[in-house]
């Protein structure tokens, strides 16, 4: 008996085994549980940190109500939520082709920012001198070009010298920020170096519906287009093969270098297009913060959706919902701007963490035999 105890003490309490087949329904259940747990932990955190909630547990429900208010309180808020979601979705679409190829492009931030810069540069120099429609087309071309160039540089280095694309694309983000700063200093030599709203080159608004409707429809069309491109086109097939195994790609006669470069151009074009939507459709100006970190958020959106453009509608919606809810909380409860980040961080932690439990399961050892021993 004593020997048995000794050996039991040696054994670990549980171990992890990989699930061979992931049941989509149970995976979804795990994700829902994770989000619910995340929200609960958020509520507790808020209860501890927000003064207005102190001492009155019943007020916690205000906290959750406020969360939903952020996106759905009014029609204006709803449209704003949809607009944010559309922009995030568009950048997420942009990073997706490269990710399907296992090319870890984390430079969407910089590529999009360059897109904004490209379109604003055209608007700044040619605004008023050209008819508006010509100006818009020129702005679009410039945005696409800037985005594509910014994306193709790391791809060329990767294809030619096998440089690390993650570091390279990350560094390009900083370069993009400084390029924007440079132009701002040139354009606005005095004072704050802040470029005011430009008069020309505004993306037209549809005669019906909301001012953001056109952007939303464009992104929706792109989503469907990219889905078809990845799933049914020859190029999409090549991207998948290169992503799965470069050697298989070479074996089957695929020119791997060309596919890497071409795919990054597609990514860059989509980033540039997003830049155009931001620059021409929303801001009509450029700052170093025009993209505001969405280029990085897009990575999570794309990854959570398992690089499927249609599923991304859900994930980008979720992240946008979290962001606007958290912003609403900081406004309503008059707390510092860091709290929304904490809340979004907690929920993302749960969502990403739960992927582990989707792919692995925890098995407790000898749960049954120990029970017998107790008897």
């Amino acid at each position: 008996m004593s020997e048995q105890k000794k050996s039991a003490a040696h054994e670990s309490l549980f171990h992890l085994t990989k699930r061979t087949e992931v049941n989509p329904a149970s995976a979804m259940l795990i994700r829902v549980i994770a989000i619910v747990l995340g929200m609960v932990v958020c509520g507790l955190t808020a209860f501890l940190l927000i003064e207005k909630l102190h001492g009155d547990p019943s007020k916690i429900k205000d906290f959750y109500a406020c969360f939903i208010k952020g996106s759905f309180a009014s029609e204006r808020k709803l449209w704003k939520f949809l607009k944010n979601m559309a922009i995030l979705q568009c950048i997420s679409l942009a990073v997706t082709p490269a990710f399907r190829m296992r090319f870890w492009n984390i430079g969407a931030e910089g590529q999009t920012l360059m897109g904004v810069l490209g379109c604003i540069t055209v608007a700044f120099y040619f605004g008023g001198r050209l008819p508006e429609w010509q100006l818009l087309i020129l702005m679009l071309i410039a945005a696409l070009l800037y985005g594509a160039v910014w994306a193709v540089i790391p791809a060329l280095f990767k294809a030619k010298w096998n440089t690390n694309e993650t570091l390279f694309t990350l560094m390009m983000n900083y370069v993009a920020t400084y390029v924007v700063s440079y132009f701002l200093v040139i354009w606005v030599p005095s004072g704050s170096s802040t470029l005011g709203k430009l008069k020309y080159g505004k993306l037209p608004v549809l005669p019906f519906g909301n001012q953001y409707l056109l952007i939303i429809l464009i992104v929706l069309a792109l989503t469907i287009g990219l889905y078809i491109y990845l799933k049914y086109s020859k190029q999409g097939y090549e991207i998948s093969v290169v992503g799965e195994s470069m050697r298989t790609a070479q074996y089957s006669g695929i020119n791997v270098r060309r596919v890497i470069i071409r795919t990054m151009v597609v990514s860059g074009l989509l980033c540039g297009l997003t830049g155009f939507l931001i620059g021409s459709g929303l801001d009509q100006s450029v700052t170093t913060e025009s993209v505001g970190g969405q280029g990085f958020t897009a990575i999570i959106v794309s990854w959570l959706a398992n690089f499927n453009p249609l599923v991304m509608i859900v994930t980008s919606g979720l992240i946008s919902f979290l962001n606007s809810g958290a912003a609403q909380i900081s406004q309503d409860f008059n707390v510092s701007g860091a709290l929304p980040d904490v809340i979004v961080g907690i929920i993302l932690f749960f969502i990403i963490g739960c992927e582990f439990f989707i792919h692995y399961k925890v098995v407790f050892r000898h749960a049954s035999s120990e029970k017998e021993a107790v008897k």
Partner: protein
């Protein structure tokens, strides 16, 4: 004298997800014996041994060492219990010497003294009859020497139970004999030796007892002296099977692929292929034998257009036949180029120049099937990419060694894997999944591939089924040359013979088959000629009907031999 039980296992079960790798296994190992663990690939031999050596932890069951229950949770625990395992894939630091590798991870008291290590290594080597230079670096060593280092590493730590996982897979017949001598000497010294293998004649040659595993279960343990090859096979497979390869006489033999003075230098400047010359004939199977890593992979890849060639020629001869030109992969440019070189003729046989025609005219001519080319034109494949080779109309099929890493995409279904070869065809822009799907269904039916469906990722299939998919696809494109590298590696006996028979059928259809193998018995039974390579050079060409294993073994380690071409 009754022998002592050194190690016993009771009720060992190990599952990976829903797969049961071992189920309720009881096994005893005695002191001073050689126990062979015999079983087909994937029957759980290695998993079982990994549980003794601390790599895996059993889900259920107990292990006893000298009668006492023990818990082995790490390789260190195993070493503390004097259990050592020599893995199939060596785990050595290339830049270190033998002695440095041997002491790596040993926690000895006192100062680190390489001299005393050297002398102790030499002592161990002398005692059991190894040949080893403790100060030689690993990267200078042959496979057999590396294995010696692994064994001494285990002995140095005082192991008295040694587990060898497929130790003979990479050795020549002569080296195998030497290894067996060493094992016998260790046995005489009272050590327990467990060898994992699926080669029957080796089991009979060296072991005292045989434990047979089938589908994760322990079927029986028998004394080797009471066993025969056929009785062991029956226990291993579970039914009586006949293992015959029906080797027909080659028919209509013509030179199909001629390799002349081929030299390749890899990315690190190493001369991987040296002046290789041979001819592969239609209607015959050419075997390539050699120690793993002697340039077999590079040779096949060079022919397939995947390896840059430093010098030499690869000439492809095709039987005469008029074939209309088609636009392979939008290659108007290529059609024009070939036309300029008088490669084409019209229906009457007059040369077709296409010069001065507009694109539309050329397109019309080609679409009407008026532009013909004669396939017997000798083509040099040197410096061509796989795509160029294919668009020249050279039907070259290649079953690479690394099935899921090169031949197939593991995460894609069978349909999408069929498309690897054909996706470029069809309407521009979008892929056509209809034909690949039909092909996938055909292969599943014809080759009896066990799969839940055409869209199940192929990595979820068993090794044999994966190989059937790959070979099936390569054969489906009616090759003129079929190259297969280790096509039966890791397959169970039935699947192996399915593959051998497929190759045989291709030979009877007039295909030039090039077969890179490791099991010399199979090479001798299946092939018509056997080319032996060592360190990237051809060391001999033998007639498979008269050659012996020993002859091949000698050639496998022979160096600096002038390459000889023997007429078939």
């Amino acid at each position: 004298m009754e022998k002592q039980v050194a190690l016993s296992m009771r009720g060992i079960t190990k599952r990976f997800g829903s797969v049961v790798a071992n189920h309720n296994v009881d096994l005893d190992v005695y002191e001073g014996e050689i126990l062979a663990i015999l079983g087909e690939n994937g029957c759980g031999k290695t998993t079982l041994m990994n549980m003794i050596s601390g790599i895996y932890f059993p889900d259920e069951g107990k292990i006893y060492k000298n009668g006492e229950e023990v818990v082995i949770r790490s390789p260190k625990d195993a070493f503390d219990l004097k259990i050592g395992m020599i893995h199939q894939h060596f785990k050595l630091v290339d830049l270190f010497t033998a002695a440095e590798n041997i002491v790596l991870g040993v926690n000895e008291k006192g100062r680190y003294n390489l001299k005393s290590v050297n002398s102790r290594v030499s002592q161990i080597a002398e005692k059991y009859g190894f040949h080893i230079d403790p100060q030689k670096k690993i990267y200078d060593m042959s496979v057999s020497e590396k294995q010696t280092v692994e064994i001494i590493k285990v002995l140095y730590r005082g192991a008295d139970i040694l587990i060898l996982d497929e130790p003979t897979a990479v050795l020549t017949p002569q080296e195998i004999e030497r290894l067996f001598d060493v094992l016998r000497r260790m046995k005489a010294d009272g050590k327990s030796i467990i060898i994992i293998t699926h080669k029957l004649h080796e089991v009979i040659a060296v072991s005292d007892r045989v434990a047979i595993l089938r589908k994760g279960e322990h079927i029986a343990t028998v004394d080797t002296c009471d066993a025969t090859e056929s009785s062991l096979t029956e226990m291993m497979v579970g039914k009586q099977i006949t293992l015959d390869i029906d080797r027909s006489e080659p028919e209509n033999v013509q030179p199909r692929l001629e390799v002349k003075d081929l030299n390749c230098i890899d990315g690190e400047g190493i001369h991987v292929l040296k002046d290789i010359s041979f001819t592969a004939n239609s209607g015959e199977i050419l075997g390539i034998a050699g120690i793993a890593g002697s340039g077999q992979r590079e040779l096949l890849e060079a022919i397939a257009g995947l390896q840059p060639i430093a010098s030499g020629q690869i000439i492809f001869n095709n039987p005469k036949k008029d074939r209309p030109v088609t636009f392979f992969h939008k290659s108007m440019r290529q059609v024009k180029e070939l036309a300029a070189r008088d490669a084409f003729h019209d229906r009457s046989g007059a040369p077709m120049r296409l010069k001065g025609m507009s694109r539309a005219q050329i397109k019309a001519q080609v679409s009407a099937g008026n532009v013909l080319f004669r396939e017997d034109e000798v083509m040099n494949l040197r410096g061509k990419t796989p795509l160029e080779i294919r668009s020249l109309g050279v039907r070259l099929s290649f079953v690479p060694e690394d099935r899921l890493g090169m031949g197939l995409v593991g995460n894609m279904g069978i349909t999408d894997n069929m498309m690897l070869r054909s996706y470029r065809k069809g309407r521009a822009g979008f892929v056509d999944r209809k034909k690949p799907r039909a092909l996938a269904e055909d292969i599943i039916k014809e080759l009896e591939v066990a799969t839940p469906g055409v869209n199940t990722p192929v990595r979820r299939l068993s090794g044999g089924n994966v190989q059937k998919v790959l070979v099936g696809r390569e054969i489906a494109f009616a090759p003129k040359v079929l190259m297969a590298a280790y096509p039966a590696r890791g397959l169970d006996i039935n699947s192996s013979y399915t593959i051998y028979n497929l190759l045989n059928k291709q030979k009877q259809n007039g295909v030039a088959v090039i077969f890179v193998g490791e099991d010399l018995d199979v090479l001798l039974a299946l092939c018509d000629r056997i080319m032996v390579v060592n360190s990237g050079a051809v060391t001999g060409m033998l007639d498979a009907r008269t050659a012996t294993k020993e002859e091949i073994g000698l050639l496998m380690t022979k160096t600096n031999a002038p390459a000889k071409e023997v007429a078939p």
